[in-house]
């Protein structure tokens, strides 16, 4: 019961700052704004056109209604009171006319929000889908160089600010501008001096709110800082809560928290206070403006200066109110647009990231052997071949997929300036087991990342079955390489589907066979719903060892000719590993396997062991050869290295 929605990203506390608080300065905000407008307009141009029409119509209907109050009093009620035999038919006619306007206004309001709804939800969906599709095509480097929480907040916070902008800010801005303009025109028509008076008061209002906003802004910045501290502290302490318990550190931890919490309270209080008093100040300044207009207008009407009437005054006062409101709104929306721009910039940054390039043209195809020659065929035969179309003459070669991997003097660095792998040479024959050992940071995982081209090399060549990997289509290259990583990743789905991830069209029987191969079958059957048990939260209800068994099963069902095992059994205890080993041996049989491990039993029987240090292979050979060399491997192996 307690556990639902755990994976929601944490949103910042405290809500948005009040209007007038400067958001972060954004480079080229105008450019981003236009890009966003173009993005929204591309698919919904016609929609926007109708939205604009509807807004104009409903604003006009509203203004017209307000004007009607004057007509009502001046043209109908006052003459009627003077008439001996009042005839209401004229009034009825006028009211019917107004009613029609009102009707149009209501319909337009509805249409406007109905169309906007389509635009907003559609745009958000399109944006989400595009972002996701684009993200999936980005190279691993993007994910390695960006904090995952930051990528996530694109989908939550940033999209949300954009949604608000498209659905509220833009239409409301437009609405406000139209209202201000039409109310202003009406006011000018009614009375010029009173209009000027209203304008002066608007100036006063804007002035005071900027002043307050400036003050409040400082406190909001302060609050944001404190929120960051409190959140950071909570996150750290909650993840270490068990350690806190073990060390009886509860009181200390609470004490520290109280300190931070009080600081947050202090700044949150001040920031909120200033945000709260903004509204009454503006409202009462509005009243002052109203009173002034009433007094001056009363004088004008009384002395009948410039043909100003009581009805005119009544209408004007209503306009006075509806003039102040949109002005406040525009400045409020401006601020949220600035915030949305920051979000839009991050979203566009993602969309502008260069996707993973793939110039490969050698593809993997099903094949059949006819008279010792390889022939491409449609159906799955279990035999695979590289289809190599020569660019020069268009002739097509077929090379059987075997899993031979050759590194020829490979240099690699995550950036061009810093090379982390030097002169790597290795030769893995089909079916061989190659092991990498060495300390953390020696470059073991990096090498395996090059085989499947998660990263591209700076110099040298990597050949797969004799073909330069750069020529092979990435998707086909990766399909021919199975990977089991130290960090297992399971998806929210059934156990069955999680294993099937390795081969989407695998039958249930194939999945179960793979699970049996990895010795995962036994424990799966003990789960509440067996293979149909739904895993959540990255398989949180399984032990680390069990999760690794599942990821081994996943690689098994994919049935690739080559395997990369990156510390795949590190979390399985030796005894269980022995059970798994048997399955692993079966899995590795006949496949080229690259193993990274720091456990001896995993490495020992490899065909070749590479000892890496600081990005170089310093020793290579079989276990026995390396032991007899009495070098680094021997040291690691016997544990005599300390003090050496």
């Amino acid at each position: 019961m307690a556990e639902e929605r755990e994976s929601r990203p944490v949103k910042p506390m405290g809500g948005r700052p009040p209007r007038g608080v400067r958001g972060p300065k954004i480079e080229g905000a105008g450019k981003i704004f236009w890009r966003l407008v173009k993005y929204v307009g591309r698919y919904y141009g016609v929609h926007w056109f109708f939205v604009a029409l509807c807004i104009i119509a409903s604003v006009l209907a509203n203004v017209q209604g307000t004007m009607f109050t004057r007509t009502l009093i001046d043209d109908y009620i006052i003459p009627l009171t003077k008439a001996a035999d009042p005839d209401f038919s004229g009034l009825l006619q006028a009211m019917t006319r107004v009613a029609v306007f009102y009707g149009v206004g209501i319909v337009c309001t509805y249409l406007q929000s109905r169309i906007l709804l389509e635009v907003t939800q559609g745009t958000m969906r399109r944006l989400r889908d595009e972002m996701y599709a684009h993200m999936e095509k980005l190279p691993i480097k993007y994910f390695d160089t960006h904090v995952h929480g930051d990528i996530m907040s694109l989908y939550t916070n940033d999209i949300d600010t954009l949604r608000q902008m498209v659905s509220q800010s833009i239409p409301q801005m437009f609405n406000s501008v139209i209202t201000v303009v039409s109310v202003f025109v009406s006011m000018v028509i009614l009375n010029v001096p009173l209009t000027l008076l209203t304008l002066v008061m608007v100036g006063v209002m804007l002035f005071t709110s900027t002043k307050i906003a400036g003050k409040s802004g400082n406190y909001f910045v302060e609050q944001q800082k404190n929120i960051g501290r409190v959140n950071g502290y909570i996150e750290e302490m909650m993840s270490g809560q068990k350690v806190v318990k073990v060390f009886c550190h509860e009181d200390k931890s609470l004490e520290e928290f109280q300190k931070l919490n009080d600081q947050l309270f202090d700044s949150a209080y001040k920031a909120n206070k200033f945000a709260n008093i903004m509204m009454p100040i503006n409202a009462q300044l509005g009243t002052v403006s109203y009173v002034l207009c009433a007094c001056v207008g009363g004088l004008l009407a009384l002395n009948n200066i410039g043909g100003f009437t009581i009805g005119g005054l009544t209408s004007f006062l209503t306009f006075n109110r509806s003039f102040n409101m949109p002005i406040n709104q525009v400045s409020m929306q401006l601020n949220s647009i600035v915030m949305a721009m920051a979000g839009a910039k991050r979203v566009f940054d993602l969309l502008d990231e260069k996707p993973e390039m793939d110039e490969g043209y050698v593809t993997l195809v099903s094949a059949r052997k006819e008279d010792g020659k390889i022939v491409e065929c449609k159906e799955r035969t279990g035999l695979w071949a590289w289809r190599h179309e020569h660019q020069a003459d268009g002739s097509v070669d077929y090379v059987e997929l075997k899993g031979e991997v050759v590194f020829d003097d490979v240099d690699f660095g995550y950036t061009d300036e810093k090379i982390v792998l030097h002169n790597i040479k290795l030769f893995a024959k089909p079916g061989q087991k190659i092991a990498f050992v060495g300390s953390t940071g020696a470059g073991k995982t990096t090498i395996t990342n090059l085989i499947n081209r998660f990263y591209d090399i700076q110099d040298g060549k990597i050949r797969y079955d004799g073909i330069n990997v750069n020529k092979i289509k990435k998707a086909d290259l990766r399909r021919s390489l199975g990977m089991v990583l130290q960090d297992t990743h399971l998806f929210t789905d059934t156990v069955m589907e999680n294993i099937r991830y390795g081969k989407l069209d695998a039958t249930d029987e194939e999945v179960i066979a793979a699970a049996k191969l990895a010795n995962a079958d036994t424990f799966i059957r003990q789960l509440p719903n067996g293979y149909n048990t739904v895993l959540t939260g990255d398989g949180a209800n399984l032990s680390q060892g069990q999760r690794q068994l599942l990821s081994i099963a996943r690689a098994a069902v994919a049935d690739p000719p080559a395997l990369i095992l990156d510390e795949a059994t590190s979390s399985i205890d030796t005894r269980t590993e022995k059970i798994v080993q048997d399955g692993m041996d079966k899995l590795m049989h006949g496949r080229t396997t690259f193993v990274i491990a720091h456990r001896l039993s995993t490495v020992q029987n490899s065909d070749c062991i590479m000892v890496l240090e600081q990005g170089r292979i310093i020793e290579r050979g079989t276990h026995d050869e390396l032991i007899s060399q009495k070098g680094r491997y021997y040291q690691l192996y016997t544990g005599n290295s300390i003090g050496a």
């Binding site: 209401f88 996701y132 939550t156 009544t314 005894r575």
Partner: protein
Amino acid sequence: MLKTLGKQIKEFKKDSIMTPIFMILEVIMETLIPLLMGSIIDDGVEKGDMRHIFLMGGLMLVFAVVGLFAGIMGGKYGARASTGFARNLREAMYANIQTFSFANIDKFSTAGLVTRMTTDVTNLQNAYQMILRMCIRAPFSLIIAMAASFLISARIASIYLIAVVLLGIVLMVIVKFAMKYFSQLFEKYDALNASTQENIAAVRVVKAFVREDHEINKFKKASEAVYNLGVRAEKMVILNSPFMQFTVYTCILLISWVGAHMIVVGDLSTGNLSTLLSYCMNILSNLMMLSMVFVMITMSMASARRICEVLNEEASIQNPENPEMEVKDGSIRFDHVTFRYNENSETPVLDDINLEIASGETIGILGGTGSSKTSLVNLISRLYDVSQGHVYVGGKDVREYDLEVLRNQVSVVLQKNVLFSGTILENLRWGDENATEEDCRRACRLACADEFIDKMPEGYNTYIEQGGSNVSGGQKQRLCIARALLKKPKILILDDSTSAVDTATDAKIRKAFAEEIPNTTKLIIAQRISSIEHADRIIVMHNGRVDAVGTHEELLQSNNIYREVYEAQTGGNGDFDENGGEL
């Protein structure tokens, strides 16, 4: 639930009461102003009484000032009440979490607790402010305006009354349907975000299996579901404003018509008519506001529920009434101990365990994944309570001890251990606040942590990043052992705590333990035979039971499991160390 939350208002009760009072004062001022306005028109403009206009205008300004004062005070108190409430909520949750036992902590995930203390509290803070400032204000304003209308003209006011009732019903229906769709939408939205997060974390798997398109399709489907529900929910919401407009316009027309008739026969003045018209907007927009507040409150209910779950969670392990304050020695005895994490589960995690460990003994514990090694040692420092049977430490049932006393004497180095941001010294002093630097050095020497600390440029003052991300796995483990040693415990438990430490260092640590703290009972869980083979006795765990107990030689002869593991690890000492590069 309201009671639980209400308790947390505490010292902000005054602010919570003052806020609505000032809000009401502000509303009264706001409502009186149109009344005066009508008077200006009727008694001033129409009768040509300039004095009256200025008098009323002056009065209006006074009201405006009072209104301003009330508004500012209301805003101030409201801010204090709501942010204070939020502070108390956070603190209460944090304090309660500190009392949680391991079982309680397991129930909530870390992420879950963090969300509750951040996002959920913010939601409640906003909702509370809304309640204090709007929930009283809006209905009050509505009632006052209504009453004022009745004073002017009962006939016209009854039009409002009917409009309010009708619009109220319509709004309620809309809100009810919208809420239903929205809660479905949020669920789907959360699921979408969860799966996106999963995808980002698992990107290597996705790419390695070339499942990009598969993932994109999965996402598109989920995204479409969100879209459909979003459209459905919003479709309900957008009905609000046309209904509102319809009611307002109808009212204006009706009032104008009725009002015109009344003015003609002399039952109403023109000033009153314009006052009534301005109340019209006031009444109906307050109703609108009320329905919005209602939506907000309903939406924050989920947050309130989650917060209450934490606040109402009772620690499953509590101090006994007259606790034993001294642990006599480091002896341990398990007497027919059965343990389950969940009372309802059929198969126990530990099944009828009987063990006797003398003070000062070194015990190795070995067993496969899921053989309940960790569960066994967690019972000793009472991180969990047994389901049946007894665990004795120093001759007394662990449930008789004061928790802090017990845990200070039984020091556990957890399997999933954590260092906190702060210097190495600060981290070490978790074990003993008053430890001198010399004490810390000694503990580090024992744990073989001194060698790498001394090589760090700032030595013991080196700053450890959150989660210890700037030290290697093996270094982290050694620091954690040193930290536990500083407690000078009678029992030391190492739960797979040297797995990332190379074999030679591991041996050195064991040697130091034997020589320097011979009287401490040591329990060592390990996967490497070499880590435990020299122990006085070794316990072999299998499926929640003790499979065998004995020395290395005995077990090698008599126990199948032990022999198998030993054979699997034959040859050298087992591991290639991750820390080889530190030499």
